[in-house]
């Protein structure tokens, strides 16, 4: 049986939160530039699971391919960015809820079950 802090789960949850924040920030940047001529929508992509196991969570930011550009060369889509934002926000909330539960468990043990 694992020890109560369960490091692997804690790390995974932390990673999920970091990823959600990165996606949220890139999306907020896209939304801010919805009227900037020539701006191309960006997205955060992440390394695969093996890299993560080796401790590398660095996100890379790339331009989204295949979005039709408007006449001013901008291809930011309002609904797409809002969706990414709220999805990332819920992802963060989910991980935070699980992590908070984990912390509560540790605190419970520290307080000898009181």
């Amino acid at each position: 049986m694992n020890d109560i802090t369960d490091n692997a789960i804690m790390t995974a949850l932390g990673r999920q939160m970091t990823k959600a924040v990165a996606r949220e920030a890139v999306s907020a940047g896209n939304l801010a530039n919805i009227d900037t001529p020539g701006y191309h929508a960006r997205e955060a992509t992440f390394n695969d699971a093996l890299d993560e196991e080796l401790g590398q969570t660095a996100a890379t930011v790339t331009e989204v391919a295949g979005l039709p550009a408007r006449r001013d060369g901008n291809n930011v889509q309002l609904d797409r960015e809002l969706l990414t934002l709220s999805r990332a926000s819920s992802d963060f909330s989910a991980a935070q809820t699980a992590l908070a539960a984990k912390f509560r468990l540790v605190r419970y043990a520290i307080n000898e079950g009181r």
């Binding site: 801010a32 530039n33 930011v61 935070q96």
Partner: protein, 142 residues
């Protein structure tokens, strides 16, 4: 947390930019009949120029998850020709009775204002979501 702050700053810069667009559209509508501007000419329609902030190349920003903001880099005058209207009694009419009117198209400005208002709302929405995320992160310390 710094990524979240950069996202918050980007959204705030967008609010500022969209408000500037709204103000320019409003002054265009207000002056759609002003035949005498500061230089004696009819009013010329104005437009805001937006650019990314910081204005680094895409290559430099690659791999960084910091949000890019937006900035009003200038307000330019629209150089399309003035509209003319036949109105011989107008004090600014030329010899043939034509008056040069501002090159403002009111419906176009209304559409611009709608676009700016919607973009403002979207960015306000984004700020709300980012603030929620920050609050959730802080709740972990409770």
């Amino acid at each position: 947390m710094s990524t979240l702050f950069s996202a918050l700053n980007a959204s705030a810069s967008a609010l500022e930019a969209q408000r500037a667009r709204m103000e320019v559209a409003t002054s265009n509508i207000a002056n759609s009949d002003s035949t005498r501007g500061a230089n004696g000419q009819p009013y010329r329609r104005r437009d805001v120029v937006l650019s990314t902030q910081p204005a680094d190349s895409f290559a430099a920003a690659l791999g960084k998850t910091d949000a890019v903001g937006v900035k009003v880099t200038g307000i330019v005058e629209d150089q399309t020709p003035f509209r003319t209207r036949y109105e011989p009694s107008h004090p600014d009419a030329d010899g043939q009775g034509f008056v040069a009117m501002p090159n403002v198209d009111v419906p176009e400005e209304m559409v611009n204002m709608l676009g700016a208002a919607r973009a403002y709302q979207a960015n306000l929405n984004a700020i709300g979501l980012i603030r929620d995320t920050m609050q959730r992160a802080l709740d972990l310390g409770k």
